[in-house]
């Protein structure tokens, strides 16, 4: 159903150089509302670079991005966030010294006016954090807990909560289950499935075939910085996808 509508996010001909190294060459990607796209590839295939281009952290050397059919130029992560494009980084991008709530709202803190000065509204941060964590069924002792005190799975949950706290339309996840204990993996995958149901487009980068085949609708493989293969999940198999990762069709 989703393939007939316009894609929510589309990248065309993305190329990225780092000095003399070509990290990406003419890469295309699209994701529809309510769809999960799996991106696979070996280390160094350009997955993370592509995601950083999509999130506005890197500027592409060439190529263009279309969001809801309109071309967008992302100058910073703030631009992509404003569009509703959120990223969950592999290194989690959380500040360990700050509490959960302040991490979720980092950069977009609610404030209250005290005369002419704007002060952080800690009560509102706490209230919104608790409501949001409840909605996602994420259990932590308290929203005031510092992130550095959390387990890997809890941190991942906070990172995902952070990405979805502001009406995200597309959420990009870089190896969302890599650092998790087995029992926590299922929870994160459930979280992804429920995001899809709300009409969010999800892009999952993963090495784990289990993840890809549990939550994704379509899978694309990058090889040495280029599009290598792509198929809907029903038309492929684990063995074939693993072959793509190694550069075999």
């Amino acid at each position: 159903m989703s393939s007939t509508t316009n894609p929510l996010l589309e990248a065309k001909g993305i190329t990225k150089y780092f000095g003399t190294i070509t990290a990406l060459e003419n890469v295309n990607l699209k994701v529809h509302a309510g769809e999960c796209l799996g991106v696979v590839g070996d280390n160094g295939a350009g997955k993370s670079t592509l995601m950083k281009v999509l999130s506005g952290l890197y500027k592409p050397s060439a190529g263009s991005l279309f969001f809801q059919g309109k071309e967008e130029i992302l100058e910073s992560p703030r631009d992509s966030q404003n569009l509703g494009l959120e990223m969950v980084y592999q290194d989690l991008a959380l500040a360990g010294n700050l509490p959960i709530g302040e991490n979720i709202f980092l950069g977009r803190e609610p404030t209250k006016n005290l005369g002419f000065i704007k002060l952080l509204d800690f009560n509102k941060i706490k209230e919104l954090t608790n409501a949001h964590l409840d909605k996602l069924k994420i259990n932590v002792k308290s929203a005031d807990q510092k992130v550095e005190e959390l387990s890997g799975g809890q941190r991942q949950a906070v990172a995902i909560a952070r990405s979805t706290a502001f009406n995200a339309k597309v959420v990009i996840m870089d190896e969302p289950t890599a650092a998790l204990a087995i029992k926590e993996v299922g929870k994160v995958l459930d979280l992804i499935n429920s995001l899809k149901k709300t009409g969010v487009g999800v892009i999952v980068i993963s090495h784990r075939m289990d993840d890809i085949f549990t939550v994704c609708d379509r899978v694309m493989a990058l090889f040495q910085g280029t599009n290598f293969a792509e198929a809907s999940l029903s038309n492929t198999s684990r063995d074939e996808v693993i072959g793509w990762i190694m550069g075999k069709k």
Partner: protein
């Protein structure tokens, strides 16, 4: 036995956050008590207490500035030189006969611009570490200060210019004696520290300063303009050094070439004693104040007891190492599961 252990552990968990926040104040109180016992007649006298506050007044400004920089996991070695340059500019402007309100504002602007220069250098020139940029400006600013003043002291300012560093708030209306006044510099310290406490803990920018220290990548990924915040932090640090210059001008009635020499190290020491971490993201304004007070009281107390200044150096160095070691032990306890 098990039950008792659990109780101790849970008590421990409840106490830790308070100990982490206010432990340094405990050290300060202990020091005050020890000094009081050693010098019962003098140490807690009105005259001596106001003296301590007057002595720490300008250092407390430098320490607060350096603290903000350290929270971002940076360092500013140039604060002493910024203060000296600002002081010299003040002296030259005052000698040129400018009205007092111009003279008073010049060190603040000069300090701010020096800080801005640091901040822009670190971000635009992409220096590998703020240490290098501010080490460079440590020399540049002091050299410039000597160039504009000819390397000689310039003395004699008006009362208005000296007010912040030298002024007294009379408390006779409270029924106190004339000698029991409040130094204006003490009130200034309180106001500046409260403003910066609010800024760092209750404003977006303040929160982002801590976030940058905690994880600059997280801050960047959150759409925070890290470079802009760093420029703001170094500029404010310079501005505070400028306030330090204004206070020092009042206290000494003179701009002199050695002003603030090595005071950047005192400022860093106060931050570290107060619990700031060189890795960034950690420390409180209250802690810095306690750090400044501990150093001030130590110097004052040792002077009262006629201990040689060489011993003071040895003791201050030891306190730095000891304070950080206590911090290491405390962290070990705090992370024990």
């Amino acid at each position: 036995m098990d039950d008792k252990d659990k109780k101790i552990a849970s008590l421990h968990l409840k106490l830790m956050p308070y100990l982490e926040k206010y432990g340094i104040l405990l050290l300060l109180v202990i020091m005050i008590l020890v000094m009081h016992i050693l010098q019962p007649d003098v140490f807690l006298s009105w005259r001596n207490v106001t003296n301590v506050f007057k002595q720490i007044s300008w250092q407390s400004m430098l320490a607060l500035g350096v603290f903000m920089v350290i929270v971002t996991a940076g360092i500013d070695l140039s604060v002493g030189s910024i203060m000296m340059l600002s002081l010299m500019i003040l002296a030259v402007v005052a000698k040129a006969g400018a009205p007092w309100y111009i003279v008073v504002i010049t060190p603040l602007i000069a300090g701010f611009l020096c800080g801005l220069f640091n901040g822009l250098g670190i971000t635009l020139l992409r220096m590998p570490h703020p240490f290098i940029m501010t080490l460079g400006t440590l020399y540049i600013f002091r050299g410039t200060g000597n160039l504009i003043s000819g390397g000689t002291p310039i003395s004699g300012f008006t009362d208005e210019v000296r007010y912040l560093g030298h002024g007294r708030i009379d408390l006779q209306w409270l029924g106190l004696e004339k000698s029991q006044y409040l130094p204006v510099s003490l009130v200034l310290i309180a106001i500046v520290y409260i403003i910066f406490w609010i800024f760092l803990n209750h404003s977006k920018t303040g929160k982002w300063i801590y976030a940058i220290g905690g994880n600059p990548n997280a801050a960047r990924a959150s759409g925070i303009n890290v470079n802009k915040i760093l420029v703001i932090v170094y500029s404010l640090c310079g501005f505070l050094s400028g306030i330090g210059a204004l206070i020092l001008a009042g206290r000494t009635d003179s701009g002199y070439p050695n002003a603030g020499l090595q005071s950047e190290l005192d400022a860093i020491a106060a931050c570290i004693i107060g619990g700031a971490s060189f890795f960034g993201g950690r420390g409180t304004v209250l802690g810095v104040f306690a750090g400044v007070m501990i150093m001030g009281i130590l110097r004052n107390g040792l002077n009262l007891m006629d201990v040689s200044s060489f011993w003071q150096q040895v003791l201050i160095g030891s306190i730095i190492v000891l304070a950080v070691y206590i911090d290491v032990l405390r962290r070990d306890l705090g992370t024990r599961k």
